[in-house]
Assembly symmetry: C2
Homo-oligomer: 129 residues x 2
């Protein structure tokens, strides 16, 4: 995990950085997750998004089970050097574990969260298929 | 700060939620910040983004000094109910305190962070002008 570029990042006390994944072309914000130094280094090396699962406390190669990997087009860093933006190609067109194109499918309307994006594939078919 | 919709959000232990601001129309990811329950309620009420400044520990009405406010078009919530996506109109076309259109102006290229977005307005002119 060499690379001076990794030293530029202001990691949290837990050694994490927040990451936004945006779809190349459509510009759709697909999801939000976290990375460690190791997972970001692997993301750059392998050319596919590797996150850090905070709940499972392990590396999470996005799409490992579902096939819905994210091919990296660009890795960007913000002004404060503490947030990463990935521009990705979303393989299979499904970023969300609910089977939707992206994770931000609830929209606030008249004081209620309304689901405004369709399920493209049954999650059972994604993970057991 | 009533509103059952606020109770749906899974706030961090510190009472925060991460927020991504995306530009209406262009789809550009402008910035990343945090909100408290109060700031999110005010964002919905006032129709302009009100963040929580973690460094200053106070409400941060984006654009208060610079005039570069963010008019709210949509407020979205993700699948895990712990990340907010705002779709906004960026008043003045400048979201970043460096005077750039957005905060993600560094791109990883051959192992180095390169600045790939121009300064549109001198920060001195933004904040002292």
């Amino acid at each position: 995990m060499s690379g001076a570029w990794l030293d530029h990042i202001r990691w949290t006390e837990d050694g994490l950085v927040p990451v936004i994944a945006q779809e190349q072309g459509s510009g759709q914000v697909l999801m939000f997750a976290w990375m460690t130094r190791e997972s970001l280094a692997l993301t750059a090396e392998e050319g596919y998004a590797v996150y850090w699962s905070r709940s499972r406390r392990k590396l999470w190669r996005k799409g490992e089970e579902s096939g819905h990997r994210q091919r990296i087009h660009e890795i960007r860093l913000d002004c404060d050097e503490d947030v990463i933006l990935l521009i990705v190609e979303q393989i299979g067109g499904i970023a969300c574990h609910t089977g939707r194109h992206h994770c931000f499918f609830r929209r606030l309307h008249d004081g209620e969260w309304q689901t405004v994006e369709p399920v493209l594939k049954d999650p059972k078919a994604i993970y057991d298929g």
